[in-house]
Symmetry: C2
Subunit: 328 residues, 2 copies
């Protein structure tokens, strides 16, 4: 499907379907968000209920800001992977339990009679950081989101790289430590099992359960289930040695993973986003050191390592960027 | 530079400059080698001597087969990396000691007055396997050569992927085992330090030196320096338990590396070439198992794992393929 021209005034509808939150917004080609609406994702109520909620949010969005649907060129939808971008189908996302082969793209397209493009959320975020954020103007960019999980998206030779079945950039499931801790995917020693927020919280819980003295136990008021990566980061900030060690170890593994990606893809920019980047130098310093140590000198010096710039808006801008990229 | 049309009759000159051998050949677009010449690489005599030898081989090649230079559209040169493809410069290849920033592309271009394109040998081999070998007709192909070292080249979205500085696909220097054995590059636990022919021979030498009983010691007639990966493979074939264990361990790590690449790049075909593939199922079975276990099901089932098809001719065909790809 082809867009309706390519002016600065062109508008795009972005819909970011997350595991807990739906964001819908109207975005122009410059990345300005002209209007937005948020909803809770009632994932357990099934695709039809979520679709209704999503349509409702979009309708209100247009109404509240007096935006005529005729001004919108296309719709981009970002959804948790894995998805089949070509068919516009959400296949079996772990974050949307019970969803299976849902033709979300077609359903939205039929509702609004506009060309609709579906992409997984990490690829959408990569497109947004490339277009509006930390990767502006470069041809080769690796985007990694380090949060509860670890995901990624690649811009190679100026375009989103999807691979054979749209599943490229599964950076969280590179094996970094053979025989390492068990990952949610069933394997051992995946990057996600070593360096994600989930991994950091798990390691902290194990230490607290063993009775290791640490501020983390106090912050969680002794309740193992309340321990989060954020709490570990907070304890580290306050000088807690255990918390610092947990984070340092996790970030060494993150560095190994990032250096491997840099060696393999030789990018100009490595953009890291996601909740863990709030740790600032505790994340970026070890990653930079690992890249400088592990990658070849010319490759290491060619890559800039940057924090993602779009923050909370990356979901909405990513969804809109999917539509923009598809209609160029 | 643009080629002179694109007919079946078009001829290309391929020059493969290896650390020990120079191959020059005339190749048509179908991948038929019409003529070829070989020389020893006297790398220690410096770039000028090698250039003279290479020019001599090429001149004789054309003369012996009565091929007029005017029928040749372009010259492709494959050389050990790292090279700077854009400037046609061999920068500092470990296999050509003493070479430093040699403008080999320009030197050959001036000699023959034909457009000349330089590429690193692994990328050239990837181009050849994609065009004439195991990767024909696919858009996303990973090529890995497992030999003394481990190198690679990627065809992504139908084209050779070079990265920001032409150094992409350094697959041998992904860290597979943090704190693992020291690699020639200075780091620890690189794929090349765990799964290359050099790594296999090193592990065998260490075991023989420790006095572990193994057929390898007999095959090498007690001389540690004579131990090669080929010898270890031979001992394994004859049922030697130590040799089998060395190879099995190395191939488990090769599998980890290949699975990581598959997860990251989601290719249709993973082509493995190089001397180690002579081991057949001892290499391919563990790689297949690792990919099936570590990659996501849809990604694993999308990728065919194949042995490279061009054998000894991959160097020459690769060099010619560089010229073909550059003039399309």
């Amino acid at each position: 499907m082809v867009g309706r021209g390519r002016s600065k005034d062109e508008l795009f509808l972005g819909i970011d379907l997350g595991g807990t939150k739906i964001a819908a917004g109207v975005v122009d080609r410059g990345g300005r968000i002209l209007a937005r609406q948020y909803r809770q994702t009632e994932a357990s109520e099934g695709p039809q209920a979520v679709l209704r909620c999503l349509i409702d949010a979009t309708t209100q969005l247009l109404a509240a800001d007096g935006i005529d649907l005729s001004r919108v060129s296309a719709i981009g939808v970002a959804a948790p992977g894995p998805i089949d971008a070509r068919r516009g189908v959400v296949t079996a996302p772990p974050n949307l339990p019970g969803w299976h082969d849902v033709p979300l793209g077609r359903m939205i397209q039929e509702e609004f009679s506009l060309p609709t493009y579906l992409e997984n959320d990490a690829n959408a975020a990569a497109l947004a950081e490339h277009r509006f954020g930390a990767g502006r103007g470069v041809d080769h960019m690796i985007y990694v989101t380090a949060s509860t999980g670890i995901g990624g998206g690649f811009i190679l030779d100026g375009r989103l790289y999807r691979g054979a079945t749209g599943a490229a950039a599964e950076v969280g499931h590179m094996t970094i430590l053979p025989h390492g801790p068990r990952c949610g995917c069933g394997n051992r020693g995946c990057l996600e099992a070593l360096a994600s927020g989930t991994a950091i919280a798990r390691e902290a819980r194990e230490r607290v359960a063993r009775g290791v003295p640490t501020l983390i136990a106090e912050l969680a008021e002794g309740d193992l289930d309340r321990i989060t990566a954020q709490m570990v980061a907070q304890a580290a900030e306050q000088g807690d040695a255990e918390a610092r060690e947990i984070i340092e170890t996790a970030m060494i593994y993150l560095g190994v993973g990032m250096a491997n990606l840099v060696n393999v893809l030789n990018p100009q920019v490595l953009v890291i986003g996601g909740g863990l980047t709030k740790m600032g130098p505790r994340l970026f310093d070890p990653v930079r050191r690992a890249v400088d140590r592990q990658a070849f000198p010319a490759t290491a010096s060619a890559v800039e390592i940057k924090r993602a710039e779009l923050g909370e808006e990356v979901g909405l801008l990513g969804a809109a960027a999917v539509a923009m990229a598809a209609t160029e």
